[in-house]
């Protein structure tokens, strides 16, 4: 919204106040990319949106991980759990994002709130994290499991000390995918809550498509996804020191 106000206000403001008379020429012409706009709106538009985007993603992936990995541990122990979880999470995963947001908004108690947005985002992470965690746990070699049991570990000790650490690469692979796709999806959440990088994108679209804002917000979303992915790879290296030895 800012750029339109500035662009329309520019002719009335005395030139001396603006400094360079061509300050907003780029915005008025809606050129490919206006660096001036970026530096003026970084602090008021883009940086807050980026911070909100990070928070939205952290909540969604955190909750999704807590739910999906507990379900996976349960399904690892009790096989019957797997089928219903997979059916339900697949249905969630299949429903187009915009439709799921709208359907959730209509459910009593949800409405246009952060809860609604997070519920939708969490539901998209479940299938990926559940599948990867369960696959990781199941691929732990049987002889390793037996050796642990032979050393007198209980089933839960085997899980906590042997199976989960060995399944870590697969689990983190799932979390990486969930995080990156949540960052991309969270731009659509701006339709429901006025937060995140989707806000500048939607503003730019509604104001006769202002290119600079679109590109800036879009590139920030992609950069955030790449950075988060790299961070998780680093985390995996830290948590699996034995893998580095080979």
């Amino acid at each position: 919204m800012n750029h339109v106000l500035l662009a329309s206000a520019a002719p009335i403001i005395p030139k001396s106040l603006l400094g360079n008379p061509d300050s907003y020429a780029c915005e008025r012409a809606n050129r490919l990319f206006c660096w001036g706009w970026l530096s003026r709106n970084w602090g008021s538009v883009l940086w807050p949106a980026l911070r909100q985007h990070v928070v939205i993603t952290l909540i969604a992936v955190g909750l999704g991980f807590a739910i999906a990995s507990s379900l996976a541990v349960l399904a690892h122990r009790y096989r019957r759990v797997e089928q219903p979880v997979v059916v339900v999470t697949t249905i969630f995963y299949t429903i187009p994002a915009l439709a799921l947001f709208e359907i959730l908004v209509a459910v009593p108690g949800f409405g246009l709130s952060l809860t609604t947005a997070e519920t939708a985002l969490v539901s998209y992470t479940l299938l990926i994290i559940f599948r990867n965690t369960l696959t990781g746990l199941r691929e732990v070699p049987a002889d390793v499991r037996e050796a642990a049991a032979g050393m007198g570990m209980s089933r839960w000790q085997v899980l906590a000390r042997v199976e989960l650490p060995l399944a870590l690469p697969a689990i983190i692979a799932g979390v990486r995918i969930a995080t990156v796709s949540t960052i991309a999806l969270a731009t659509i959440a701006a339709l429901i809550v006025n937060e995140g990088l989707g806000v500048p994108i939607l503003t730019a679209i509604s104001e006769s498509t202002f290119k600079t804002e679109l590109i800036a917000a879009g590139v920030l979303a992609v950069a955030l996804a790449v950075a988060a992915d790299a961070l998780l790879v680093g985390l995996q290296r830290l948590m699996t020191p034995w893998a580095r030895a080979t």
Partner: protein
């Protein structure tokens, strides 16, 4: 919960739109959605499948093929569509282009990983029996790679359907998103009705493609427990993210 009852009432009896005397609003937009999604998928498959299969066959270009899939996941479809509209203007062709850009990477990556992962001893055996490169690809590698190749196609199909609705936010009027995004005209019942319709459409396409995958998979490789659930599109994600670690089910059985 009576908003949902109203939504189903809207699905049951919604009016006609001017100029389309034979179709009700919902069926018109559902057909339009299916049409543009089908066009986008046809173009994407025609581009990505041959490249992915060939790269997998010659075991080259893994960097490009794998990273195409990784970068793709980070692309916010809303931003891609909006930037496309900003530069090319609004129109069916441009929305189609954006959909193709979003659908090519998963198909390409999966086709590559699927063929590349085929057990090399099986390929050697086929060559030893005198099969040409083309015959190896068509009769040995392709059947073994069906689960992963189809997983890519299914992931792309879901994504394309989902993105047609998001295209409505950028001003494209030829999908169910047009109703979802216009509460002033269609009221909450219409928005919900259209949302339920697109969800049903996505689920139907998913089930349909799972059936296609089952039909294409050679009988001995089909999972015994069967059913749609066993052949999830998520399989490819695991395979692409951690190559070599999570082998696909079909491979273990061979």
């Amino acid at each position: 919960m009576h908003v949902f009852i109203d939504a189903f009432r809207f699905i049951a009896r919604n009016g006609q739109i001017p100029g389309q005397p034979h179709l009700t609003t919902l069926s018109y937009y559902s057909l339009e959605t299916a049409k543009i999604a089908a066009y986008a998928m046809a173009i994407s498959i025609a581009i990505a499948l041959p490249i992915g299969l060939w790269l997998g066959h010659i075991h080259r270009g893994s960097f490009v093929a794998i990273n195409a899939g990784n970068v793709w996941r980070a692309l916010p479809s809303l931003a891609v569509l909006a930037i496309g509209v900003a530069f090319l203007g609004l129109g069916v062709a441009n929305v189609l282009l954006a959909l193709v850009v979003l659908a090519v990477p998963p198909i390409l990556t999966n086709a590559y990983v699927g063929i590349d992962q085929v057990d090399p001893t099986v390929v050697d055996a086929a060559r030893g029996q005198g099969l040409t490169g083309w015959q190896v690809l068509r009769e040995v590698e392709l059947p073994l790679a069906v689960p992963l190749v189809m997983a890519g196609v299914r992931t792309a199909a879901l994504f394309v359907i989902s993105t047609t609705t998001i295209a409505a936010l950028t001003g494209y009027a030829g999908s169910l998103g047009e109703i979802i995004n216009d509460e002033a005209t269609y009221h909450l019942s219409g928005v919900l009705g259209a949302a339920i319709c697109i969800a049903a459409l996505a689920l139907a396409v998913e089930v349909l493609l799972a059936g296609v995958q089952r039909a294409l998979t050679p009988a001995p490789l089909r999972s015994r427990r069967g059913g749609v659930i066993e052949t999830l599109p998520v399989g490819w994600i695991a395979a692409a993210a951690a190559p070599g670690r999570l082998t696909h089910k079909g491979q273990e059985e061979t």
